[in-house]
Subunit: 210 residues, 2 copies
């Protein structure tokens, strides 16, 4: 599925104007991805939109894929920042607070740049870029770590599985809700938060009835 293009490094911007150039290029990339679609993403067009020459682009990025990768790494690092900022709050906290906190964080991370997040997610899977896999693995580990501290209070005993189910459920529901945002039947965030909390708490704390 993947063509892992070799990543020849390019020099980093040293002067201020160079940094501005790189910034403009990345912004243009994001803009095109979000507003024009992947298929319109060409290096020539990026340079045009960024207002720099195609040559400048190739001084900082070895190839087209590197553009998307840079954007993705940036985005993921923002998300991981948020996540780890709240991570400390989770450990030792009572279940309900921890779950509340987790759901909020996921909602927040998705609000950083919803449309971009969406597009990057698709691209990441498509290009098999590992940055996103890292994000998910990290999220799973954090959740699993927390669950282990509460092992005795929790119904599921395969905590890796539980973390898998929880992380991906929450992620997907939030993701879908964001896509629906412009929709007539858009889902209010507070209701979503409430519902996800219910889903998680019941899964973790209730024996299966019947």
């Amino acid at each position: 599925m993947t063509t892992t293009t070799p990543r020849k490094p390019r020099k980093a911007p040293r002067q201020a104007r160079a940094k501005a150039t790189v910034e403009a290029i990345l912004e243009a990339t994001a803009h095109i991805l979000v507003d024009e679609g992947v298929e319109r993403l060409s290096t020539n067009r990026v340079a045009q939109v960024a207002g720099v020459s195609i040559g400048s682009l190739y001084q900082y990025f070895p190839n087209k894929e590197a553009l998307v990768l840079a954007l993705l790494e940036r985005h993921v690092s923002k998300m991981l920042g948020l996540l780890s900022k709240h991570a400390t709050e989770l450990i030792g906290a009572p279940m309900e607070d921890a779950v509340t906190s987790y759901v909020r964080v996921v909602l927040e991370t998705h609000q950083i740049a919803p449309r971009l997040h969406h597009v990057l997610t698709l691209q990441a899977i498509d290009l098999d870029l590992s940055a996103l896999a890292d994000w998910e693995a990290q999220a799973r580990k954090m959740v699993q770590g927390y669950l282990e501290t509460r092992r005795d209070d929790i119904v599921p005993d395969d905590l890796e599985m539980a973390a898998f189910v929880l992380v991906h459920s929450v992620e997907a529901v939030v993701h879908r809700a964001i896509i629906k945002e412009d929709d007539v039947a858009a889902i209010p965030w507070d209701r979503l938060e409430k519902e996800l909390k219910a889903l998680i708490l019941r899964y973790l704390l209730s024996e299966t009835p019947g």
Copy 2:
């Protein structure tokens, strides 16, 4: 995000050999999508892999997008077929059986052609093709419909929301599990089924503890 290419119709195959041609083209498309990646999907390559000339391809498909669309429609109709086949089993059945049945169906639908399903899903979102949205809307409606017949036994009262949460949770978890299939830490299907059933039943039948 989307370039909705106009869809000029092309003539349908009438003779048997023409049908074989169309079949070969679609199979080649699927093969390339799955084994070589979207970026390698060109009409010339499809024709080459299918062993027909590029001219033949354009006699039955107006453009490249139509190839993916045809494939997607085919796939979705197979999935909907499975779903509606089991739909009757759901109505009137006790909760646990219905949930079991639903989880199985989703697992089955994903097993029709897992890798293709994955790729098509990405493409569908990317191209904004509605076939997939239809699938999800249909799935949500079916689930919501069932929930309504059980309204009194069920904890959540916003059934549209409940259906939304359930469908997308199950879908996402199954989807992820399939992607992980080749992985060392692949997830056994029976455990997945069990866990998803627990997730759903607790969500639907248990009051939030605490």
